[in-house]
């Protein structure tokens, strides 16, 4: 997993829960990386799972909620770091439809070793977009946060339904309803 996901996560933990919580979350377990992350590095995604689980215990918030919040935060990070992704894009549906064929293609140019989830995206009707998430990382909640972040950015009133198509949450369906 790309280093930026770790560095941004730890920054958010420090911002939202303070230095001591961050220290606990990082120092709780013996991590291979020793908790020292750089955005240009690449790390085992299991460390991320461990960090989130630790935070969940510490602040008593479910892992899913934490990942969703982090997703929303990470969308803002992306927005600021890569404004070119958003040039000429007018709506959430338009942006989300282009993830697989545009955003991920651009990401792979910068980080050829990035392990990205894949999405099957289809527009059911004018007001409904279906996105099916596939990833062995099983971080659908993180993805949901990113989607919510996107909707918020375009200031649209869209409801997101999430339904696991596989029990282990490696395949999850998102249904986006425009109101």
């Amino acid at each position: 997993m790309k280093g930026i996901v770790f560095t941004e996560f730890l920054e958010m933990v420090e911002d939202k829960f303070g230095l001591l919580t961050l220290d606990k979350v990082v120092e709780e377990n013996k991590l291979a990386s020793g908790g020292a992350y750089t955005a240009v590095g690449t790390y085992d995604h299991a460390e991320m799972v461990l960090l989130v689980t630790n935070l969940s215990k510490e602040v008593n918030v479910p892992v899913g909620d934490l990942l969703e919040v982090y997703g929303k935060h990470f969308f803002d990070v992306l927005l600021q770091s890569y404004p070119s992704f958003f040039q000429g894009v007018k709506s959430a549906f338009q942006f989300l439809s282009s993830i697989e064929n545009h955003i991920h293609v651009e990401v792979l140019k910068l980080y050829p070793d990035a392990e990205l989830p894949s999405f099957d995206i289809s527009q059911v009707d004018d007001k409904t977009l279906k996105m099916v998430y596939h990833s062995e990382r099983k971080l659908a909640a993180f993805a949901k946060g990113l989607i919510e972040g996107c909707i918020a950015y375009f200031k649209e009133d869209i409801q997101v339904e999430m339904k696991a198509l596989k029990e282990d949450h490696s395949v999850v369906e998102f249904r986006l309803h425009k109101k």
Partner: protein, 799 residues
């Protein structure tokens, strides 16, 4: 607080580690980038080497110029082509090398390329090499344009000196030949594929009177020729396009209006790459030749006309001479039959001899003119050669008796068959040779020898020798004797007379028969003419021929003939002959009378003079053949004084059957009459419906009455006639035949009226032959009675 301090310390430691980690990653990345860069550099340089090599190994100068056109790169080929080293060229403008004469043009050309921003151009020009010699370059220049701005040029220049030199040499040699042609007074003109003038050479302009300026870009055929010739010339363009050349003549008009004839040798033109670019014409003024040719043609026409005039004159003359001669000879024959004194008989013999000689000469002259104009025609009949020669020899033997000369036939040929030959001309050949021999031989003999040369199923070749022991000739004289109007020498004609045509005619005739004639002679010893003549064998045998001749002699009597002749002397001659042959005749004094008589009575044969007043023989024949009359199908014989082929053809074309040239001999007339008399006897028995229609005007009751009367008396009268002929009761036979004659016409059987008429005539004039004639002809009369019976039946049943 210390807890926070500890946490911060740990955070700091983590951040330091993260920094070091990231620095390490960056170092690795930068190393990676460096190596990738190195690899790329190596790749680029190997590519560059490769291209450099290509550039250096090229045969053409390859260079780059900067924005202003100054050289910033050039390959080493330049040294090879121009002698300048790379360094000497770099920084120079390429136009610096262009020779002075080409410079302005070249600079303007490339300025225009830049102004038009034309990406690629090609131009040929001359430059100086380092040694100062001229080198031809063919240069491709491409502009390097980026965002509409010219950044520089790239050029490829090829040394084309050799091609250019070859081109120039070719052009020079072309010019050289064109100059040569111009010096030969031949006018050259070059046109493009559309036929428009691209170059007119001086001599052509002189010929036509137009300047090159006036001709340029124009269609010369429109300017110089009439529409007819234009069509001809347009056709020539198509030929040129196909790569074909030819020569023709055209009538042209000069600028000053004068007409000239040009002989044009046209050929297609091609450029150095072999593309068709029009045609070139070499013009020769043949006006003078044309004039000459025209003069020759009219001279030829005049010559032909005068030859025709000569022919006409001969024919006319022969007619004019023969007509009175005919009368003289005819009258002589008749005079001989009258009672005359011995003295008168002597005079008569002289008249006869002289007129025959004269006729002979006229015939010779006419013959030679016929031979020369190719109008002579052979009429082949079966004939016995041996008999013919025996006759000839016998007649000359009598003549030669006075000189005590022996004339004999020495027939050594083992051949006695009948051959197909023209009797008249074969006789003429031998008569000419024998009379010639007789004329020049005073003692000794004249021998006609005959030998068989070759024989096959169809043909036979015989050699005839006419050998005399006369005065002979020198070799020089021998060589001339076959020429027209030539005799051995002038003295000969003075001493022996003659026209000198006989041998010439004989030679021509022999040759026309497919044979040849040769002469061998020794002065004072004699002359031998040797003839070799091929013949076709006849299908008839000697005996058959004899029977035929006999039959002719018998069957003439009882014929009815219409003679149309205006000349009283000729009338008299023919009348006497016909009486001699015991042939009944009717005389018509002119064409009009001839038509009248031919409408009334049916004749076995009609003898028509061609030159008659009012209606001539041709016109009369036409009318007889084209209108209903009893003689519509009767044989008609033309009597003319002219033997020309044209007259014969004309006679046949109007429907005449035969042609008899006056003066004719009694035998000739007899032969013709005999021929048609036999034909007449085979006539079929038919009612003349048209005559009956005229006679009875459709009144069938009247016809029935007439037929009944005919049948009541006819058979009985005929039976009585038969008896009277048997009993030689001529008086009764005459009365009966006289009575019966018109009745046959009344029932529409005019053929039998003729026959009965003959019997009537015979019962008075030819009683000894009447019985034979009656026996021979009784059958049609008996048939006639049966025919009339059935006709009566048919008509009665219709009423």
């Amino acid at each position: 607080m210390s807890e926070e301090k500890e946490a911060l310390k740990r955070l700091l430691k983590r951040e330091r580690k993260a920094r070091k980690d990231s620095e390490k990653i960056l170092e690795e990345k930068s190393l990676e980038l460096y190596q990738a860069n190195q690899e790329l550099k190596a790749l680029y340089s190997s590519l560059e080497n490769r291209y450099q090599k290509i550039v250096e190994q090229a045969n053409d100068i390859i260079y780059r110029g900067n924005e202003s056109g100054h050289c910033i790169f050039v390959n080493t080929v330049s040294e090879k082509i121009l002698g300048f080293k790379k360094e000497e060229i770099l920084g120079k403008h390429f136009t610096d090398l262009v020779i002075a004469e080409d410079q302005e043009e070249v600079i303007n050309f490339y300025l225009k390329q830049r102004a038009d921003k034309k990406e690629n151009t090609y131009k040929e020009f001359r430059v100086h090499n380092k040694a100062g010699e001229i080198v031809w370059l063919g240069q491709n220049v491409s502009l390097i344009i980026e965002n509409g701005e010219i950044l520089g040029v790239s050029g490829v220049a090829r040394d084309i000196t050799k091609q250019k030199q070859a081109e120039i040499a070719l052009k020079r040699s072309e010019e050289k030949y064109k100059r040569v042609i111009a010096n030969m007074q031949l006018g050259l003109l070059e046109v493009d594929p559309d036929g428009l003038v691209v170059k007119a050479y001086e001599r052509f302009c002189e010929m036509t009177g137009y300047s090159e300026k006036e001709l340029m870009g124009k269609d010369p055929s429109t300017i110089l020729t009439d529409p007819l010739s234009k069509e001809l010339i347009d056709g020539k363009h198509e030929l040129r396009e196909k790569g074909l050349s030819d020569v023709y003549e055209v009538k042209c008009k000069r600028k000053d209006g004068q007409t000239i004839w040009l002989m044009i040798s046209g050929a297609p033109r091609y450029d150095s790459s072999g593309n068709y670019v029009g045609s070139i014409g070499i013009h020769m003024d043949v006006t003078e030749q044309k004039k000459l040719m025209h003069q020759l043609e009219s001279a030829k026409a005049m010559a032909e006309e005068s030859s025709k005039a000569k022919e006409d004159f001969l024919a006319h003359m022969s007619h004019e001479i023969r007509t009175p001669l005919n009368a003289v000879i005819g009258m002589t024959h008749l005079l001989e039959d009258t009672e005359i004194s011995e003295e008168q008989e002597d005079y008569l013999t002289t008249i006869k001899y002289s007129s025959e000689q004269l006729l002979h000469m006229v015939s010779d002259i006419l013959d030679i003119s016929k031979i020369e104009s190719g109008e002579l025609e052979f009429h082949h009949t079966p004939l016995n050669l041996k008999e013919l020669l025996e006759g000839q020899v016998a007649s000359y033997a009598i003549k030669a008796q006075k000189k005590n000369l022996e004339v004999r036939l020495d027939w050594k040929a083992d051949f006695d068959q009948i051959v197909e030959a023209d009797q008249k001309y074969l006789n003429q050949i031998f008569a000419n040779l024998l009379s010639n021999a007789e004329k020049f031989t005073d003692k000794g003999s004249i021998v006609v020898g005959v030998e068989l040369v070759s024989e096959n199923e169809k043909t036979v070749s015989l050699a005839f020798h006419v050998k005399d022991s006369g005065i002979g000739m020198t070799t020089e004289q021998c060589s001339r004797i076959f020429e027209s109007f030539q005799q051995a020498d002038y003295n000969t004609s003075v001493r022996y007379g003659g026209t000198g045509l006989g041998l010439s005619i004989a030679k021509h005739l022999v040759e026309l028969m497919g044979g040849n004639i040769q002469v061998k002679s020794e002065l004072n010893k004699g002359t031998t003419f040797t003839l070799l003549i091929p013949f076709y064998k006849s299908a008839e045998h000697a005996n058959q021929l004899k029977d035929k001749k006999l039959a002719h002699d018998i069957s003439l009597c009882g014929m009815s003939v219409l003679v149309a002749e205006d000349n009283p002397v000729n009338q008299k001659f023919i009348k006497k002959l016909l009486e001699k042959f015991k042939v009944s005749y009717t005389l018509a004094e002119d064409g009009k009378q001839c038509l009248e008589k031919s409408r009334i009575q049916k004749f076995d044969i009609l003898l028509l003079d061609i030159n008659m007043p009012e209606i001539n023989g041709y016109e009369a024949t036409k009318i007889i053949r084209e209108t209903k009359n009893p003689n519509q199908n009767s044989p008609i014989i033309a009597l003319t004084a002219s033997a020309l082929l044209n007259d014969r053809e004309k006679a046949f074309s109007v429907g005449m059957n035969e042609h008899l040239t006056k003066p004719f001999s009694p035998v000739q007339l007899k032969q013709i009459l005999g021929k048609y008399h036999q034909a007449a006897e085979t006539l079929t028995l038919d009612f003349d419906e048209e005559y009956l229609e005229d006679l009875y005007q459709g009144d069938q009751e009247f016809e029935i009455e007439m037929l009944t009367v005919f049948l009541k008396n006819g058979p009985e009268d005929f039976e009585n006639l038969k008896n009277s002929v048997k009993k030689q009761n001529w008086e009764q036979a005459y009365q009966l035949s006289h009575k019966m004659k018109p009745t046959f016409k009344m029932v529409g059987l005019s053929q039998l009226e003729d026959k009965m008429g003959k019997m009537e005539w015979m019962s008075e004039n030819k009683r000894d032959e009447l019985a034979t004639f009656f026996e021979k002809n009784k059958k049609p009369f008996e048939q006639a009675f049966e025919k009339v019976k059935s006709r009566l039946k048919t008509i009665s049943s219709m009423l």
